[in-house]
């Protein structure tokens, strides 16, 4: 298992390198180049401008720029000495050994071209709201998809099954953002049951994530949580409905496959009650491919978040991304891009590992 993991991680290296190259290409493709972007921005300090130019080597040939951005090259070095960090160890090694602090490898994602804040900080602040939204949605939609899919398979061709089929066809064809709009119209504008945007009620509490907010949260935890929960309902429904459609079909197909297997007949021949046969013998097998599928779907939460967060003004990574695209804030985009690509690679790996954990037949 460990050996397999190591091999997979090594195999992922070329893909990750490819991702960094594409990410850097995004940066270079900025109209007028990044320098133009922040040259006249009053929010960026002079020191920041100098540090940025130097550490990213914007006056240097492109390979050197890239090397500095990744953290392979030391911006203070000359010639081959660029490969060495301040302590004399290769610059690429962790900060503790090489003393280097520049580049993605050392956690330096730069600062926002728009606001001058650290990119890592902006992304970090947006991560919690996204985790709350995506986590809630993921949990709900997976459990709902499993329940729906299993019921549809067990009662195959019943009214329920056919209704589920129609529902999933429509769910497949429905644009996420349109569902969001209609929900806002119905529950927000017409019925006025739910807040239509944001994460917290601005009249009651400070903006989410600020220091003041956490003070408020500590004083009134229950109203604060209820407030977030209220704001969470519609974005979560939007994400859940669209994603249930595909996943419940997947579970259904997997369950039907399991129910038709010989071991299910054996289980019945043993005299086990129907419920045990379905939920112990068949379901356990049916969930094997589902587990892998969930692992592969985690990255798609990101695109789901893009859509949902922008409709409901949810202060997460998705909205941060859209806003950054709008103002060409390339450093933020590169950070988001890099992190979400790495997430895809990791999720693929996780899916494989999960599969080995749940299926005794698979040994790496």
């Amino acid at each position: 298992m460990t050996k397999y993991l190591i091999r997979r991680l090594i195999q992922a290296i070329p893909v990750v390198i490819g991702i960094t190259i594409v990410t850097y290409a995004v940066m270079l493709s900025a109209p007028g180049g990044p320098v133009e972007r922040f040259a006249n921005n009053p929010k960026i300090t002079l020191a920041q401008k100098e540090a940025f130019k130097k550490s990213w080597g914007l006056d240097q040939p492109i390979p050197i720029q890239y090397g500095r951005w990744v953290g392979l090259l030391n911006p203070d070095g000359q010639g081959l000495g660029q490969f060495l960090g301040p302590t004399g160890w290769p610059n690429i090694l962790p900060t503790g050994i090489s003393g280097a602090t520049n580049g993605v490898l050392h956690g330096d994602l730069g600062f926002s071209l728009d606001s001058g804040e650290s990119v890592a900080r902006r992304i970090g602040n947006a991560a919690l709201p996204t985790l709350i939204l995506a986590g809630t949605a993921l949990l709900l939609w997976i459990s709902a998809a499993i329940v729906l899919g299993v019921l549809a398979a067990v009662k195959r061709y019943s009214f329920f099954d056919q209704a589920a089929t129609v529902f999933s066809y429509i769910g497949f064809a429905m644009p996420t953002f349109w569902l969001g709009i209609m929900l806002i119209l119905i529950f927000g504008v017409s019925l006025k049951w739910l807040p239509i945007s944001g994460m917290v009620n601005a009249r009651l509490s400070p903006a989410f994530g600020t220091d003041n907010y956490w003070v408020y949260f500590g004083q009134n935890p229950i109203p604060a949580i209820l407030d977030i929960a209220q704001h969470l309902v519609m974005p979560v429904i939007t994400l859940v409905v669209v994603n249930i459609a595909g996943d419940s079909r997947f579970v259904r197909a997997s369950m039907l496959e399991a129910l038709s297997q010989d071991y299910v007949r054996t289980a019945r021949a043993k005299g086990l009650p129907g419920r045990t046969v379905t939920f112990r013998h068949a379901l356990r097998n049916a969930l094997l491919p589902v587990v892998t599928n969930i692992g592969l779907e985690i990255p798609f939460l990101f695109s789901g978040a893009l859509v949902t967060e922008s409709i409901f003004s949810w202060p997460g990574i998705g909205r941060l991304t859209i806003e950054s695209i709008r103002v060409f804030d390339y450093t933020i985009l590169m950070g988001v891009f890099l992190i979400s690509s790495l997430l895809v690679v990791l999720a693929n790996l996780l899916a494989d590992v999960l599969y080995a954990v749940v299926d005794p037949r698979i040994k790496y």
Binding site: P14, V15, G18, I19, V22, V26, S29, P31, Y169, I170, F172, A173, M174, P175, T176, F177, W178, I181, M182, I184, L185, I186, V189, S190, I196, G246, R249, F250, A253, N293, P299, F302, S303, L306, V307, S310, I311, T321, I322, I325, R326, F328, L333, V336, F337, S340, S341, V344, V345, N348
Partner: protein, 338 residues
């Protein structure tokens, strides 16, 4: 999810019920006869697939309406707003007179079957039909570009193999592990300010939509190139290009068609999404996404008919192409050949 990669039945799948098929010329002999019967059979089975026929029907109606509709409608999508009444609030479907203060329709009539928008007072039906022109054109064209690129890349990788195959497939790996929606948004943003950027958007969806096709085509080529009739062709000295286009490709076509039909739906939703965010087709050009985007600015007024109908149009279109895709898959699946 995974659709079977089974290529259609090999040569010799002749059916005596075909009647008078034209005799092939000697040089065409290897494939043309067989592929003819294969498509005939597929159509026969497709016709029995109810949902697929419904999908095809919806598609036809939509395309016809998109082409013909705007010619006959009394409004244009860029009419100058009239200032007779309801300058702000818009009118629900079939409403002749709308009381804006009380939010009730005081007189119904045969006007605006999908309602009238707030603000610029556009007829929603006119918008939806004009939007259909752009959205459908965009969906189909970008699919075609993606499928052509994917087929070429996949065919090269699968037929040549070796280092080239490895390189191409690693590139596909990298592209597929990018958050594509994100990349598309960023690239689309570059073209946002150009006035007529429909072709730019089409190219973006085409250029980022070929990876799945190339993987499929590659696997098809890998399996088909080992089949006897290809080896036979190679043994008698048929040139590579001819083998690819005359022997392998016709046998790989049906799974490609199925995947292509699914890409159309994805691209239409994708376009609507990036236009909705404001990074897509120029807002002055009516597309379903642009209409929805504008509707959002009036959402607090409660113009439910404004976002409803373009959304329904998207759902119907995607449903229709997916149904057709399902029908094609069943029609081409040799295992369901009853």
């Amino acid at each position: 999810m995974t659709q079977p990669l089974q290529p259609p039945t090999g040569p010799g799948a002749l059916h005596d019920d075909l009647g008078a098929a034209p005799a092939p010329s000697a040089s065409d002999y290897e494939v043309s006869l067989q592929s003819l019967s294969q498509w005939e059979l597929a159509w026969r089975k497709f016709r029995q697939h109810k949902l697929a026929l419904i999908g095809l029907g919806i598609m036809t109606v939509l395309i016809l309406a998109a082409i013909v509709g705007p010619i006959f409608l009394p409004y244009a999508f860029d009419d100058i707003p009239r200032v007779d009444q309801n300058v702000y609030g818009g009118r629900p479907p079939f409403c002749a007179v709308y009381d804006n203060a009380k939010h009730v329709c005081t007189a119904f009539g045969l006007v605006h079957p999908m309602g009238e928008t707030g603000g610029l007072q556009r007829d929603v039906l006119t918008l939806v039909l004009n939007g259909a022109r752009v959205s459908l054109f965009l969906g189909f064209t970008s699919m075609a570009i993606g499928v052509i690129i994917g087929t070429i890349v996949g065919a090269i990788a699968g037929y040549i193999g070796g280092f080239i195959d490895n390189l191409l497939m690693r590139i596909v790996d990298v592209l597929l592990s990018l958050p594509l929606l994100f990349v598309i948004l960023v690239v689309a943003r570059f073209f946002q300010n150009s006035k007529d950027n429909v072709w730019a958007i089409i190219m973006i969806f085409g250029l980022f939509g070929w990876m799945g096709v190339s993987r499929l085509v590659r696997s098809l080529f890998l399996s088909i190139r080992e089949r006897e009739f290809v080896e036979a062709a190679r043994a008698v000295g048929v040139r590579d290009r001819r083998i690819i286009f005359r022997h392998i490709l016709p046998n790989a076509l049906s799974p490609i068609v199925v995947v292509a039909s699914l890409i159309i739906g994805g691209n239409i939703i994708g376009e609507a999404f990036i236009s909705f965010l404001g990074f897509g087709v120029n807002p002055a050009v009516p597309t379903w996404g642009n209409i929805l985007s504008n509707a959002l600015t009036f959402i607090l007024v409660g113009n439910w008919w404004w976002p409803l109908f373009p959304g329904v149009a998207i759902i119907l279109t995607v449903l229709a192409v997916n149904f057709v895709g399902d029908g094609l898959r069943d029609a081409f699946d040799p295992r369901s050949r009853a």
